[in-house]
Symmetry: C2
Subunit: 201 residues, 2 copies
C-alpha cells in the first residue's frame, strides 16, 4: 500500500523532480505537493515553461552556450569584443561570469576538464574547435577561466600548449579564486576582481 494511494501522474512528477540537483526523494515529494496545491499559479505555468524551454533551447554551435538561439545571444551581440575569448568548463560558469558582468569578450565552453582517471581526454572536450577558432585569426587574447582545481589547471596547461602556435596571448584568471573553489559558487565581486587581475599563463 506504500505508494498505491498516489496517482501515477503524481508518482511520475515526483520521480522526475527527484532527478533535479539539490532535490532528493523527500524534497521532491514536498516540491510536487507544493506544485499541486498551486495548480493555477505554479504547476500550470511550470508545465508551460518547461514545454517552451524544451522547444526553444539550443546549444550554440559557435561557443557551446545554452540559449534559445544559435548562434547564441552572446556570440551575435555586436557590442561584445570578438578579439577576446573566455574559455570556461561549463555553461554554468559562463552564466556566472555574465551575472558578474566580468567580461565583454565572447566565450568558448569546453564541456568539462581533462580527467585521465575518468577516461576524459582532449577529444571528449571542445578543444580542437577552440584551437580552430583561435587559429582562424582575429582573437588577441584567450582568457582561461577554468576552475582552480587540479583538473582545471591541467586542462589550462594542455590548452596553452595547443595554442602555442597561434598569435593569441593566453591569460588566466587572477588569484582571488580560492584554491579548490568552483566559479559558480563565487560572489560577483570576487569574480569581477579575478577577471581584472588576470595574469599571463
Amino acid at each position: 500500500m506504500k505508494t498505491s494511494t498516489i496517482g501515477p501522474e503524481i508518482e511520475r512528477l515526483i520521480q522526475l523532480l527527484a532527478r533535479l540537483p539539490g532535490l532528493g526523494p523527500r524534497s521532491a515529494r514536498r516540491a510536487a505537493l507544493h506544485l499541486m496545491k498551486r495548480r493555477e499559479s505554479l504547476l500550470e505555468p511550470l508545465a508551460r515553461a518547461t514545454a517552451e524551454a524544451a522547444a526553444a533551447v539550443k546549444v550554440c554551435s559557435v561557443c557551446g552556450n545554452v540559449d534559445t538561439r544559435d548562434p547564441c545571444s552572446v556570440c551575435t551581440d555586436p557590442r561584445r569584443d570578438p578579439a577576446t575569448l573566455v574559455v570556461v568548463e561549463d555553461v554554468g560558469d559562463l552564466w556566472a561570469l555574465e551575472r558578474a558582468g566580468a567580461t565583454r569578450g565572447r566565450y568558448h565552453v569546453l564541456g568539462g576538464t581533462l580527467s585521465p582517471l575518468d577516461g576524459i581526454g582532449p577529444d571528449d572536450l571542445s578543444i580542437a574547435p577552440l584551437v580552430a577558432r583561435v587559429a582562424a585569426g582575429g582573437i588577441d587574447e584567450v582568457i582561461l577561466a577554468v576552475n582552480a582545481t587540479v583538473e582545471g589547471q591541467t586542462t589550462a596547461h594542455y590548452i596553452t600548449d595547443q595554442l602555442a602556435g597561434t598569435a593569441a596571448r593566453v591569460t588566466r584568471l587572477a588569484h582571488g579564486v580560492p584554491v579548490g573553489g568552483e566559479l559558480d559558487y563565487l560572489d560577483d565581486g570576487t569574480l569581477a576582481a579575478a577577471m581584472r587581475s588576470r595574469t599571463p599563463f
Copy 2:
C-alpha cells in the same frame, strides 16, 4: 547585461523553479541548466509530467487529500476502515503516514493549524466539515495525528472540544522515543513523555 544573455523562456523556467521549496535562485539556475542539458531525457518528460499532473490533480472533496480522482483513492478503497478517521494538518502528513503503512483508517486534512497570531482561526481550517463527518455517524475513533507543536496541540484541544457531543472516541499519537533515536539527543519533554507512557517489556 546581467541576464539579457539568457533567453526569456530560460529566465521564466529559472524563476518558476526558484519557487519550489528547497530551491533558491542559485540552485534554480543549476536545476534549469541540468534540465536543458538533458532535453530529451529530463526536460521534455518533465514538461509532459507537469502538464499531465496539472490536468489530473484534484483535491478530494471528502478528506482534502490531493490525488488524481475525487473522491480520492483512499476514500474509495473498500479495504480501508471507515470507522477510523485520522486527522492530519497537511497532505504531506497523510502521505507520510501512508508510506509508513501506519493506519488502515481514512483521513481528514485540516489544511493547517490554529494560529491566532497569524490570523488563522477555526473557519480557515477544515474543522466544521470534520465535525459534520463525525456527526453523520459510523466513525468510532478519531485519531488526531497533528504535529507535536504548540499550534498542533492547541488545534487538537479545540477539535476535541468540538467533537465532545459525538459518539466518536478521540485519541492522539503517542509521544515517545523515535525508533532508532538516542536518548542523549532527545529533548526533556519527549523523554519525560516517554517515561510516563512506558509499556511492559
